[in-house]
């Protein structure tokens, strides 16, 4: 029990950072930058410590589980924390020079840190209502960040996003109310036990549908995806990277996995539903992406499609499928945030997001060019880039389960993704240099550094499957989901 003393710091540190940014850094942008970067670095260090240390819990304020809020740090939580803080740290370094184009440094850092605190809170909490609160903190910060540019499109996208997001949150709250009324507890471990004892009833099914609807809205799974292609491209590039890279995963995909596997216990019906949702998301996302010429919009549609892969992996329900889903989650955070950062670099250098207006930029912007190429190859599943390995595992898991159709579908969608990204590479970087771009310069070093590290992670991502690394990062997370409703109870009784 004593080992978990550090867990609240994962929320408290970014929260305190946000507070001091708002309080003390209003006058000096440099001070806000320093404070923000240091805070995120500290969170990264804490999450690396969390990955290397064993599972533990922390009862907030000393109140034990049925009365108080329990924070649970198990394999899945530490895995998610690592993904979130790694991407956040690199995005933060990138934004040091990118955000020079905007005013209001301290607002950016305050909102960024608030969003980080919310995401960390969602991941580590073991209490359903507490999860809702942190989810709302992260969502509100992200609504404001989408509107950060305060242009026409930003405001419109933010309004749409905020309305859809609030509806999703209301569905969640209603679902939580149903579950609380039925089981009489909000602690997820106790709730799983109660649900196991009391069995399936109409009220639990209603609650599951409401909660899945709410989380699917946050994860932008297909019937609920319409806000994402507006909201993600409208934000400044580092924020798009955060939203597409980690926000939809920690608020949507992670919560769905936690709910379906650890609270309800995976039943065949729910898993089938997840597989169908995942497959539809994959197809619709990639088909809509094919006809986009706005680079960020294209990337946003690919987020819908790639989230489908993760959900399909979870839906298979086998350890291999879960491994594939989680590994793809990790890879997607890396390459999708990298792609959004690339689009930001292109936009800053050329002043446009339209692929038709670009061309021949590989000579002028070498770093952006090779990082985009590696991320594109990774998302399209070209060996030996990281995306290939996770997609391979998902397809193998499909075959293992005898789901031939889903396996073939995953390969087909991957080919369409490749076609879409060949378009990006061809129109942006290859061919003749367009007129007016002769003086285009490569972006400053903080942006190059952030992109280069992410690109290296894309290339070397396959090393996550080396047994030693896998045993440390991925395998504990897979075990958490695979053990189903027993997991949380095991950790709580440590």
């Amino acid at each position: 029990m004593m080992a978990g003393e550090y867990i609240p710091l994962l929320v408290a540190v970014p929260l305190a950072g946000a507070f001091f940014c708002a309080l003390a850094a209003r006058k000096s942008g440099a001070f806000a930058d320093t404070l923000g970067t240091l805070t995120v670095a500290l969170v990264l260090a804490l999450s690396i410590y969390a990955v290397t240390s064993p599972a533990s819990t922390h009862a907030v304020g000393g109140w034990q589980a049925p009365l108080g809020i329990l924070l649970v740090m198990d394999g899945l939580a530490s895995f998610m924390l690592l993904v979130v803080s790694l991407v956040a740290f690199l995005v933060m370094i990138y934004s040091l020079s990118y955000m020079n184009a905007y005013s209001g440094r301290w607002q950016f850092h305050t909102l960024f840190l608030l969003m980080l605190a919310g995401m960390n809170g969602v991941v580590i909490t073991g209490d359903l209502f507490n999860l809702f609160v942190f989810l709302e903190v992260a969502s509100l910060a992200s609504y404001a960040l989408v509107a950060f540019g305060t242009g026409k499109h930003e405001l419109e996208a933010a309004f749409k996003y905020a309305v859809m997001g609030s509806l999703g949150s209301l569905l969640l709250l209603l679902g939580i109310a149903f579950l609380y009324g039925y089981t009489g507890t909000l602690n997820m471990a106790h709730m799983a036990e109660q649900l196991g004892v009391m069995g399936v009833a109409p009220i639990t099914v209603t609650a599951l549908v409401l909660l899945l609807g709410g989380f699917a809205l946050k994860a932008a799974i297909v019937p609920f995806h319409s806000w994402l292609p507006d909201a993600h491209p409208s934000a400044p590039a580092p924020i798009s990277a955060m939203l597409s890279g980690v926000l939809i995963k920690s608020l949507g995909v992670y919560t769905i996995a936690r709910l379906v596997f650890n609270v309800y216990g995976a039943s065949p019906g729910v898993l089938n539903l997840l597989m169908v949702l995942g497959a539809v998301s994959m197809g619709v996302g990639v088909i809509l992406a094919l006809r986009q010429w706005d680079m960020k919009r294209l990337l946003a549609y690919h987020s819908v499609s790639q989230v489908g892969y993760m959900i399909l992996g979870f839906g298979l329900g086998s350890p291999l499928g879960i491994l594939g889903g989680l590994f793809h989650l990790f890879n997607h955070s890396i390459f999708k945030s990298l792609l959004f950062l690339n689009s930001g670099a292109l936009e800053q250098a050329t002043g446009t997001r339209n692929l038709k207006e670009m061309g021949g930029l590989s000579g002028r912007m070498p770093t952006t060019s090779w990082t985009t190429l590696s991320a594109s190859m990774s998302i399209s599943g070209v060996p030996p880039f990281s995306g290939f390995w996770s997609k391979l595992i998902i397809v193998m898991a499909c075959v293992e389960q005898g789901e031939w159709f889903y396996g073939a579908w995953a390969i087909l969608v991957s080919i369409l993704t490749l076609a879409s990204f060949l378009k990006v590479t061809k129109f942006a970087f290859l061919g003749r240099l367009k007129k007016g771009f002769e003086n285009v310069r490569e972006v400053p070093w903080p942006m190059r550094f952030g992109m280069a590290v992410l690109a290296l992670l894309c290339i070397l991502g396959g090393l996550m499957l080396v047994p030693e690394v896998k045993e440390m990062v991925l395998a504990p997370a897979v075990r958490v989901l695979d053990h189903g409703i027993l997991t949380l109870g095991e950790v709580v009784r440590l």
Partner: protein, 151 residues
């Protein structure tokens, strides 16, 4: 808003009624805050009521007059003061061995001065919530004005 942008305030009737009631509303808020540890209410509810009393003044007497008395920066500063006070009370808990621990004598049950540090936390929360809510109100009301200055 009486057809004149609300700058000059509402009619005489509204102004007079507001003048009579606003003090009572304010006092009621203070009562809720101070009795927060004994009965329903507390810093949050009381802070909202206190903020509402100021909003009443604002709406009745119009923005121009009110902005002469209430400065936006002062409200923001007050909000920060509330947050720091609350944090300070939580940190003083370390005198008793932990975050948010009680460091004052508990007093007799059901008397006004009891409950250790809880009434103090209520007051801090009241300042934070009241100033925060009023700050949101001010930001929405003065939106157009600040935009004009900004550009």
């Amino acid at each position: 808003m009486a057809g004149n942008d609300g700058e000059a305030g509402m009619t005489l009737v509204v102004k007079t009624v507001t003048r009579l009631t606003v003090g009572l509303i304010f006092l009621y808020g203070v009562y809720i805050v101070l009795n927060g540890h004994l009965s329903p209410g507390g810093g949050f509810a009381g802070g909202v009521i206190i903020a509402l009393s100021f909003m009443n003044l604002f709406l009745a007497f119009g923005g121009k007059r009110a902005f002469e008395i209430i400065k936006k920066d002062a409200v923001t500063a007050l909000e920060s003061v509330g947050a720091v006070l609350f944090l300070g009370i939580a940190l003083l808990g370390f005198a008793d061995g932990g975050f948010f621990n009680n460091f004052l004598p508990q007093g007799r049950l059901f008397s006004l001065i009891s409950g250790g540090a809880i009434p103090l936390s209520n007051i801090a929360i009241c300042i934070k919530v009241g100033a925060g809510l009023f700050g949101v109100f001010l930001a929405l009301v003065s939106f157009r004005g600040s935009e004009r200055e900004g550009k």
